[in-house]
Symmetry: C2
Subunit: 361 residues, 2 copies
């Protein structure tokens, strides 16, 4: 599988080929791109060129047989500069699980959920590359029975397993992008860990949505994988049928096996096929009001959870909000993440995103 990244002490774009990488700056003169495209520390200039240039570059790289450097030992950086980061909520099982935990007195699925891909904007400035340590965030905590909030390190630190899409070419402000045009704008996919502090989130998120419970860090994989490297399958039946602007000619999903490891022990296996809304629908919705896409926009799927308890994408679901601790093969147990814990998400054919928890400073 081919993928693009940014590597080295003097950060520069590269392409991954097997276990090695090719320095794209070194071969830029032989590639069908404008001069300077790879003379910046991110993929953004290349991403902005569009599908024809991406394909032509890939084709030319195959002909060139350029020098391949081993990846091992190379520092890998955030592969692109994030413009706007939108986090969707596109797994029905996850939305239902969260509804039961956060709003036990109402229907688990919000009334709008089956009609539109719910999403919100996250913080672009705190998107970090796989391997970046995650400092346990502090924040306002108030359990329902507490008389007043306190400011303290989160006691309910969690991960969220998500697939992310990276926008290559911009769209025009004021002009919606249709479902059939949507994929033309997408450069590739990354794996995402949307770290979450559940206690901060629970106290702050009404009425304007998650903020500090999420904004301390979001980790993405170091490699961006072109969409045509990924396998597809049938999507979930959508009932009620979506409004016209959300209709897709074929209802499809990506078929990517996913695994979550906590301290190198597998705690969940799932698949992107469980997502109800696909990326064409997410982009059509995001731009339905005329909002433009920019090079570097990151669209994450929302937590991917399957229908069974061992196929969910977060600890809050795995432990039913801490009520049922997770027993690990090494004899330890967890409700939420502890200092020193390492979480690794892996997606077949995409790569992995890992991070270790540091104690609150």
């Amino acid at each position: 599988v081919t993928a693009y990244g940014v590597f080295g002490d003097d950060p520069r774009p590269c392409v991954r080929i097997g276990d090695g990488l090719v320095d794209l700056r070194a071969v830029e003169g032989e590639l069908p791109v404008p001069p300077g495209t790879f003379f910046q520390p991110s993929l953004n200039a290349f991403m902005a060129l569009g599908r024809e240039a991406w394909s032509a570059t890939q084709g030319r790289l195959l002909e060139l047989q350029p020098e391949v450097v081993p990846i091992e030992g190379q520092p890998l950086h955030l592969p692109f500069e994030v413009a706007d980061y939108v986090d969707f909520y596109s797994s029905r099982e996850h939305a239902e699980n969260m509804g039961r935990l956060f709003r036990p007195d109402t229907e688990p699925l919000p009334p709008n959920w089956l009609h539109l891909p719910i999403g919100y904007h996250g913080r672009s400035g705190t998107v970090v590359v796989s391997g970046t340590p995650i400092v346990r965030p502090k924040g306002q905590l108030k359990a329902p029975d507490d008389p007043a909030p306190t400011y303290a390190p989160t006691r309910r630190l969690d991960f969220e397993l998500e697939l992310g899409f990276v926008v290559g070419t911009a769209s025009r402000l004021g002009v919606p992008v249709s479902t059939s045009e949507a994929l033309d704008h997408v450069f590739g996919a990354v794996l995402v860990n949307d770290w979450s502090a559940r206690d901060i989130q629970a106290w702050e998120y009404q009425p304007l949505g998650p903020f500090l419970g999420k904004s301390f860090a979001t980790s993405i994989s170091a490699w961006v994988v072109p969409l045509d490297e990924l396998t597809r399958c049938d999507g979930q039946p959508q009932n009620p049928p979506p409004l016209d602007y959300l209709r897709v000619p074929e209802n499809w999903a990506f078929d990517i096996d996913l695994e979550v490891r906590l301290n190198h022990q597998t705690i969940s296996r799932t698949n992107t096929r469980h997502l109800y809304w696909n990326v064409e629908q997410q982009i059509a919705h995001l731009t339905a009001n005329g909002a433009g896409l920019r090079t570097g926009d990151l669209l994450a799927s929302g937590t991917i959870s399957g229908p069974t308890q061992d196929s969910v994408g977060s600890l809050i679901e795995l432990t039913r909000n801490g009520a049922e601790p997770l027993e690990l093969p090494d004899g330890s147990s967890r409700t939420f993440l502890e200092d020193g814990d390492e979480v690794t998400l892996e997606a077949a054919g995409v790569g992995e995103v890992a991070g270790r928890i540091l104690s609150a400073s």
Copy 2:
């Protein structure tokens, strides 16, 4: 009042002096800034230099007596590249008014409101400069009695009057910024119109907050005004007292007279002193979980509403959600904005932000 902007056919930074402007690129060699600071189409490089450089530049400009060009006839551009855009909700009167309209069955003020400055991330990519036409957005609409949603142009297009703060110098990821350090990071203030489609917002915003009801456009004034150009007054008493990380040595607010005009007729007069949370507290809260600030971050106050019906900062409040149409001096009346309407927000000493509504495309 001095202010900074970006002007011209070949966009470049400038400073406003009276009714004229000074091309900062033309005099860069005589200013205490690194070469190239003004050779880009935004203020970001200058903003990143920090308070000492900003003061030294202002002092040197006074000595230089450089050539001043009339502003009239000059195209003015977005003055800075927006990094993350956060919209707070810091006027108690506005929060109470919105609570009554959107959640009539509960207490108007959410339980967390007096404990923390509620905020959420907006879309940076659709922040536009004053004067940019605003295309009426389409979106999913569903009144409570409708059997299903439709996709149609909003029927409840509104403005929101806000003051925005522009971050100059970044802060370190993982390290909270205290209230006493907060102002060192702020380059200046802009006036903000956070355009809102109330029907899209009402249907979409639970549980993850506003998204497409806001993301089609946010207008800001063309000029960024340094904070020391603005007058201060006592802040509102804060009870319960905020947690330590939100305490400020002096409880102050900006004292800026504000006016809203619809088709050149004044429909509201208010003042920034009505804001409950100030910018020091907003920054301390935003970074309390370790989230970093970046050059170009925009922090908007949230709609500014005073205690009386003629001092509120949005049409939804002025017309009580359309129930009491607003009668205008020219004999027309409005519940929400109509195509062709022009909204002008003005802040004494800061400037104005204007926009005209175009019909849905």
